[in-house]
């Protein structure tokens, strides 16, 4: 835990003391929220579109989950920087249990996302987002987003520890981007084009997104399935990240 605490503190300190790292992580989710909720609000009037608390809340859930996933991925960029600077090599020599390194990055990604989620929520409420869910629903929504954040970090950490180069950036980012956008981003599943609906049904992000939206609307559905899916993904990506750590160890950091 000492290793995890030190790594997390360093990640957070770097993030919050370096504007070029902090600002994109804060601005991009707000920008997507503005562009989607503001520019597409008329989609609310599309025949067949039914979401009781309005299009702003509909998009808020997507942007919340997206920001969680990308906070994890952006932390993965930091892992790569640590490899390139030789910091991880020194850390591996010093850490009694190297799994603490992954755990530290996990806490770092979470800390980073909490700030983003707070700003995003304040902005969403300030622009008049309606919320139908009660405290428990909202707690569950944010808990689901935390698991998505873990998935993003663990995926990116696994890639970073295998490739250990900034060239790993697109490989960390693109699959996450595609998984997020091959889900019902703009309209419910029923209104997607046929080909996208097929992909969306196979995409686990769809379940997380639809459950999150049902929570904010106060009509929570498929909660157990969504949490089970998210926890399973965290489990799978934990193995991926820890095996990546072993490969990095074998390569000498």
């Amino acid at each position: 835990m000492n290793v995890a605490g030190a790594v997390a503190w360093r990640m957070l300190h770097n993030n919050f003391s370096t504007p070029s790292l902090l600002i994109p992580g804060l601005v991009f989710p707000l920008f997507f929220f503005t562009a989607f909720a503001g520019g597409l609000s008329r989609v609310n009037d599309v025949p067949g579109f039914q979401f009781s608390v309005g299009y702003t809340a509909f998009q808020f859930v997507f942007v919340l989950l997206q920001s969680a996933a990308f906070a994890g991925v952006f932390t993965g960029f930091g892992i790569v920087r640590d490899f390139e600077s030789g910091f991880i090599r020194r850390l591996m020599l010093a850490a009694p249990d190297r799994r603490g390194i992954v755990l530290g990055y996990l806490f770092g990604a979470l800390g980073r996302w909490i700030v983003t989620a707070t700003v995003l929520t304040i902005v969403a409420v300030a622009v008049g987002m309606k919320v139908g869910g009660n405290g428990v629903d909202l707690f569950a929504l944010y808990a689901l987003a935390v698991l998505v954040n873990f998935c993003g970090l663990l995926w990116a950490a696994g890639v970073a520890m295998r490739l250990r180069s900034v060239q790993a950036g697109p490989l960390m980012q693109m699959p996450v981007f595609l998984c997020l956008f091959f889900a019902p981003v703009f309209v419910p599943v029923a209104l997607l084009a046929d080909w996208l609906r097929v992909i969306a049904h196979l995409n686990p992000v769809t379940l997380l997104l639809e459950t999150g939206r049902s929570m904010i609307a106060g009509d929570a559905t498929h909660v157990a399935a969504a949490f089970a899916t998210a926890l399973a993904l965290v489990g799978i990506f934990s193995i991926w990240a820890l095996r990546g750590l072993r490969k990095a160890e074998a390569a000498g950091g």
Binding site: G39, R42, V46, A193
Partner: protein, 257 residues
């Protein structure tokens, strides 16, 4: 050596350098189309909105890859120019009899060449997925010309950023700014169907909206003189402003070196 061969050699170098970095040309060819696929799959129901100008969202959205591809080409080429400054290539070039105009023209020549390839690719994909151009084959040619002009206009701003800052990171940081211009525009819905007032005003003030609408008009409307005049007019104005500013920046950069 006269100006023309200087431009040719530097333009060829610029193009070869782009082509030798697959990420610099594969990504701009694929990513805008992937985003188009996602948006059209997700928003095709928007064609049911009263007043929506087309019954095909793919046709409506086809203008988007041209603009996003231009952004990619601009940033990638700007980064290459900034790298030339960082690595001292520009300093070494300044010791030769090369004219400074040739550097800018050669650099922009490379951007235009890659922009032309992209435009052809997007047109081909559009036709392959069944988009029918209301303005016909001539309209497709005009789209190609406008797309190349837009790449040139954006390219001058990429060059400006590179010459002013001499930093690849600074040029990279332009991408989010360009992205904001792209998203706060009429790319997803026609301006008259944007419900949120501030967004509609911002999209109306945003020149990128008119570039998109000019290309879009040729696809879904036919020949709309007003949309084309605005699109070409803005692209030409941006080109003149960008070229003037980047020429001044180049003069300052060469004086410093």
């Amino acid at each position: 050596m006269t100006l023309a061969p200087q431009v040719f050699y530097l333009g060829r170098r610029s193009l070869i350098r782009i082509l030798r970095q697959p990420a610099n040309w594969i990504f701009p060819l694929i990513f805008p189309l992937a985003l188009m696929a996602v948006n059209t799959g997700g928003l095709h129901a928007a064609t049911n909105l009263p007043g929506f100008p087309s019954d095909s969202f793919v046709a409506f959205f086809l203008a988007f890859p041209f603009i996003q591809g231009a952004l990619f080409a601009t940033v990638n080429a700007g980064v290459d120019l900034a790298r030339d400054i960082q690595t001292g290539f520009l300093n070494r070039l300044a010791l030769t009899p090369m004219q400074s105009t040739a550097l800018l023209a050669g650099h922009l020549g490379g951007v235009i060449a890659i922009g032309a390839l992209q435009a052809l690719w997007y047109l081909t994909v559009g036709l392959a997925i069944g988009v029918r151009f209301e303005s016909g084959a001539l309209g497709a040619f005009v789209i190609f010309l406008l797309a190349v002009l837009i790449v040139f206009a954006f390219g001058t701003f990429g060059a400006l950023a590179a010459l002013r800052t001499g930093s690849t990171e600074a040029v990279h940081s332009l991408f989010p700014l360009f992205f904001v211009f792209l998203f706060i525009s009429s790319m997803n819905l026609p301006r008259n169907l944007i419900e949120t007032e501030w967004f509609r005003v911002a999209a109306s003030l945003n020149p990128v909206s008119y570039l998109i609408e000019a290309i879009r008009s040729l696809v879904i409307e036919g020949w709309n003189a007003e949309a084309l005049a605005l699109g070409f007019g803005i692209a030409i104005a941006l080109s003149i402003i960008g070229l003037t500013l980047s020429s001044l920046a180049l003069r300052g950069r060469m004086a410093r070196t």
